[in-house]
């Protein structure tokens, strides 16, 4: 088995939760394969991340430099192509950086790419069997890939249970000098922070959240009326923001806000992993959806199979009568 490399996502000197999840995924591929953490960045924060990575991986490759102060996937891709050995198995988190980096990296390394992997089933010879999801999580697929010549695997954040740092006391190797030519046609300028909306959904104890099932902008008021009756705040899923029906600051999900309510009422929300990624702190989830096969019912505590446009006004009325 070739070496497994885990690209460690980090911010402000702290490795992301996805880092230890990927270590767990790597062990599921081959528990005996040598494991190397790739820690890329700049400054004193990077040393802290290296220490954390060394607790979980036998080896840490540190790549430090001004060019890596912000993770520009185009720059990092060139560096990785320069430093990675042949036949490497490379694990990257399927976040907005990994989606930017990995497809192109796989082409430049001339290896297959497995995107958004949610489970690893078996390595039989050099054939790896993994599980993915399609159609927004409505169906899963079992996928096979020969990884004998290497592979790039994007691992879905949250899909694997993080392994406790095993106290690996890994050796940190500085590979910065091997980064090579990093010239590229894309230059990072700045991060524009999300606008703060009129209501802070991240502070709400009870959220009434609407999705595509609301069908029309005019129907949003039925959710607002329910929220008012319950003393809750209205939030939404991505399609509502895409349609410009609600402000981005109301969106729950990895590309929106991370919320931690006690009760989360999902109305006409199918429950994509990007949406569920914005739900933290194990809220009590109530899902109302006319499609009994909607993925949201897999994670909800209580479900109602009904059309929200008919069900919600009746529910509101009953609560108002209380």
């Amino acid at each position: 088995m070739a070496e497994i490399f885990v690209y460690i996502p980090h911010k402000d000197g702290v490795a992301d939760d996805a880092a230890l999840e990927m270590v767990a995924a790597a062990r599921k591929i081959d528990a005996d394969a040598p494991l190397t953490a790739l820690v890329v960045g700049e400054g004193t924060d990077l040393e802290k991340v290296c220490e954390q990575a060394a607790g979980a991986c036998a080896k840490v490759w540190k790549v430090s430099g001004e060019a890596f102060a912000y993770p520009n996937a185009e720059v990092i891709r060139k560096m990785l192509v320069n430093i990675l050995p042949e036949k490497a198995v490379v694990l990257v988190a399927h976040d907005t950086f990994g989606m930017d980096l990995s497809p192109g990296l796989s082409v430049k390394l001339d290896v297959p790419f497995l995107s958004d992997v949610v489970d690893i089933e078996a390595l039989e010879g050099s054939t790896l069997k993994i599980v993915r999801q399609e159609y927004g999580g409505a169906v899963s697929t079992r996928v096979a890939c020969d990884i004998g010549d290497g592979v790039v695997i994007n691992v879905r954040p949250g899909a694997f249970k993080a392994e406790d740092a095993a106290g690996a006391a890994g050796e940190v190797v500085d590979k910065s000098a091997e980064a090579g030519d990093l010239s590229c046609g894309r230059r990072f300028l700045e991060v524009v922070e999300a606008e703060v909306g009129d209501v802070d959904i991240t502070k709400a104890d009870v959220l009434v959240s609407i999705g595509r099932g609301i069908e029309d902008e005019e129907n949003i008021e039925i959710a607002e009326e329910l929220a008012e009756a319950m003393g809750a705040v209205v939030s939404c899923s991505r399609p509502i923001v895409d349609a410009k029906w609600m402000e981005k600051s109301r969106q729950v999900g990895t590309s929106g806000q991370t919320v931690k309510p006690k009760v989360y009422m999902a109305l006409g929300i199918s429950g994509s992993f990007q949406h569920l990624g914005g739900l933290k702190g194990s809220p009590f989830i109530i899902a109302v959806n006319k499609n009994p096969k909607a993925p949201i019912f897999q994670v909800a505590d209580v479900g109602v199979v009904d059309d929200i446009l008919e069900f919600v006004p009746e529910l509101t009325e009953k609560i108002q009568e209380m």
């Binding site: 981005k248 009760v263 019912f297």
Partner: protein, 263 residues
């Protein structure tokens, strides 16, 4: 600016319940309603807006069977200047890498300043744009939710990143961008618009026309192979409240009270 937009015909998840077929070899495809992949539609709209601002042309392209023609025609009704269908028995069963290789061959037959794809499609892999860019040796940015033409040589693009934040980049032309939903408001296409482009010819190109070795694409060239479709089992699942609407509401209110959901 000459812009190529890659589009895909996919089952419309808003119109269909996607289910696994009886032997687990595919989804149940009978009676499915198909449409253009949502992300791709935003990409076409963005291309049209750029063309209308700075001039040039928009060509839509798709890898698929003859039925993909209707999707190309729909995007031409939105205002695209032309369409190209990449179709060949040898292309069937391509993995993401194969699709990108087919598009690369077609892109090289034109002279495009900008190539757009949707950020992802029905299989959720979000891979073709980035692969195509690497194959063409062009700069790439994914999840693009803002494009500004700076001059003939470069664009300013925003990427959607975690937490609703936006990462701004400058990128040299020619380049490849994958487009996130919400970047614009795609225009509506009526029956009349589609009728207007009904007689326009859409050239079809196969492996031979593109100089592609048939064994390098399609099922023969695919390194990533689907073995089986199945229904995900993510846990115990929700307790579904049964009964008349009145009974369900009564139960739900009790649960809401117990969980602190009603103040």
């Amino acid at each position: 600016m000459d812009i190529l937009v890659c589009v895909k015909r996919v089952p419309d998840t808003a119109e269909n319940e996607i289910e696994v077929n009886s032997d687990g070899t595919d989804i149940e495809r009978d009676d499915l309603v198909y449409s253009v992949n949502e992300w791709d539609n935003y990409a076409v709209e963005e291309a049209l807006q750029i063309r209308d601002k700075v001039g040039g042309s928009v060509t839509v392209i798709s890898v698929g069977d003859e039925e993909s023609e209707e999707v190309l025609r729909r995007e031409m009704a939105m205002g695209a200047d032309g369409g190209i269908l990449l179709s060949d028995d040898a292309f069937e069963g391509s993995d993401g890498r194969g699709v990108a290789a087919i598009l690369k061959a077609a892109a090289e037959q034109g002279n495009y300043d900008l190539i757009l794809t949707g950020a992802m499609a029905d299989d959720g892999a979000a891979q073709v744009g980035g692969m195509l860019a690497a194959m063409l040796d062009r700069p790439f940015a994914s999840l693009v939710n803002h494009i500004e033409v700076v001059d003939d040589g470069k664009l300013k693009v925003g990427r959607e990143i975690e937490g609703g934040n936006q990462e701004m980049n400058e990128i040299d032309l020619p380049c490849v961008l994958s487009i996130q939903t919400g970047i614009n408001e795609p225009r509506y296409v009526g029956i009349r618009g589609i009728r207007k482009v009904a007689s326009l010819e859409i050239p079809v190109r196969g492996a031979g026309d593109l100089g592609i070795d048939p064994s390098s694409v399609g099922a023969a060239g695919a390194k990533v192979k689907r073995l089986e479709y199945f229904v995900p089992d993510l846990g115990e699942g929700a307790e579904i409240l049964e009964g008349s609407t009145e009974e369900v509401i009564e139960k739900l209110i009790e649960i809401l009270k117990a969980q602190g959901g009603i103040k």
